[in-house]
Each structure stands twice: as C-alpha cells, then as structure tokens.
Symmetry: C2
Subunit: 139 residues, 2 copies
DNA sequence: ACAATATTGTTCGTATACAAACGGATTTTG
DNA sequence: CAAAATCCGTTTGTATACGAACAATATTGT
C-alpha cells in the first residue's frame, strides 16, 4: 500500500522546475519584450554560427523540427532571418540572420545578460555556479 | 561597446532551465502517459484539498486563470473532475475530483514518485537537496 | 446607498512544445 | 545497383502558457 500522505506536489522537482522557468520567462518578457526566449536563442545561435540548416539550428538550440520551424517562420515574417535552399542537398533549408536580425541581437545582448543576472539575483556566486552545474547534470 | 564573445547561450540559466524541464517532461510522459504534468498537478491538489474554486486551484498549482481553465476542461471531458456552481457567489465554479479521478491519482502516485526519482537520479542525496533549495530560492 | 474597485471565469490571440505521419531527397547496406 | 534506412522539412493535432479584454458578480469606500 503506497503512502499517500508523503507526496507533496510543491516539493517535486518537476513542479519547482516549472515555477523557476515561469519566473525566468517573466523576467525575459520584461527585459526583452520584442523577442521570446526561443526566438532569441535561435538568433543568438545564428549570429554565432552564421549559416545553418533549419533542423541543425533546432538541434543547437534544443528545439525539435516542428518547433524550430515555427520559430523561424516568425523570425522570417519579421525579416530578422533569411532562408536559402541548399543546392547540394535539395531538402536542406539554410537559415541566416539578416542584418536587421544581427543588429537586434547586438542591441538586446546587454538585456540578455541582465536577464540571467536578475534570474539568479537571490543567489551568491558560489550558489549560482552550483545551480548551473546541478541543472546541467540532470539534463 | 559590449563584449559580444562572452555570451554563451548554452550556459545561461534560462536555456539550462528549459532543457532540464524538457528532460523532466520526457520522463513524465514515459511514466504517466495518461496525464500531463499540469493535469496531474491539478488532480493532486484536488485530492489534497477537496473542493476548490477554479481560480483558487490555479493559484495552488501555479497556473493562471486561462491555463487552469483549459486543464479543467480536459479533465472534465474525461470525467476525472466534476464542477458545481457556488450558490453564495454566482461567479465561483467549484471543482472536485470524481471517484475516477481520485482512483487515477492513487494509481499514478507511485509512478509520480518514480518520476521525481528518475529526474534526479544523476545526483546524490546532498545534491538533490541543494538543487531543490536553490531552485526554490530563485522562484 | 452608491459609485469605484476587485474578483471570477471566459474568450481570443500568440507562441512554445512535441508526437505522429507524410513526401521527397540522400545515404547506407546487402 | 537496388532495397532499406535515414534525414530533411512540413503539416496536423493536442496541450500548456500567458497577456489582454470582457461581462457578471461581489466587495469596498465614502
């Protein structure tokens, strides 16, 4: 017979993880209202890597094919990225940050740093390091 | 001039938090395929609290009014919860776990414990405690 | 008592997130 | 070389998640 009393929803990793994520999302929306976290992630990787195929970009940013497609579609509609078919592999769609996209990225970089800082602001340096390590470890 | 080179997407809290959450979601779907994490959370709180108003349930499970509505709608469609209008306050909708809902909750409780366990399995006891504390601290 | 305010639930729009299925292109393998 | 397997991007369906606006109801302040 399972012990029903000992399960406390609000102490489970999943629940706390969701709440921490919610808090971060709020901070992100406050400091970078023009981009969502995933849009920013895609743009950041594009600026870092240059030209990448859509699915590869998804892998680099931890989004599955269906998700990255939606993200790119929205960035493209706002002309923050451009797309180009690969001539060698007709399936592949190369994505690149447009100049506007690159500018927006550069202009939001400072805010992005502030987001990380503010998310962790209740922790000291050692705790921040520990948290990131432990989170990485369970991923 | 901002230092562009020092921003590494994959080392930012938000990114790591999202990935950790993804991992947990996968484990959850593996061990409890019949309920989503939020559905389970709602059901768990209902079984704990008995009858609660819809918005109050949302607060107890960290979901806003629009989100909890969708969750309850789906649980209701599957007859896992019942709803009843408050006679005192005509706006209020009371939610209650049905017998089916309570049974499903009891039957999934063991799996729910395994989910938390498996999510944290790469950490020792001290690390688990630390992680939960730090996550709670930034929430 | 009554006007201002707040709360409850609903709806709409936008944006992840992912499973599943698909057609087409490429690569691997027997 | 042909069959099988894989990979590419796309679409559909379901489920969070939340801002914003809304009507109906309750509560508060004067």
């Amino acid at each position: 017979m399972p012990d029903k009393s000992s399960y406390q929803l609000t102490r489970q990793v999943g629940y706390i993880l969701r709440r921490a994520n919610q808090r971060h999302l709020t901070i992100f929306a406050d400091l970078i209202p023009t981009l969502t976290p995933t849009q920013f992630a895609a743009l950041a990787k594009l600026c870092e890597l240059g030209s990448v195929s859509q699915n590869e970009l998804g892998r680099q940013t931890a989004m599955d094919a269906a998700t990255i497609k939606g993200v790119i579609d929205r960035l493209k509609k706002r002309q923050l990225v451009t797309t180009r078919r690969d001539t060698d592999d007709q399936r592949r769609l190369f994505i690149e940050a447009s100049q506007q996209g690159a500018e927006l990225y550069n202009n939001t970089l400072a805010a992005a740093r502030k987001i990380s800082e503010r998310t962790l602001q209740t922790l000291n340096q050692a705790e921040r390091k520990t948290l990131l390590e432990l989170l990485t470890k369970i991923t």
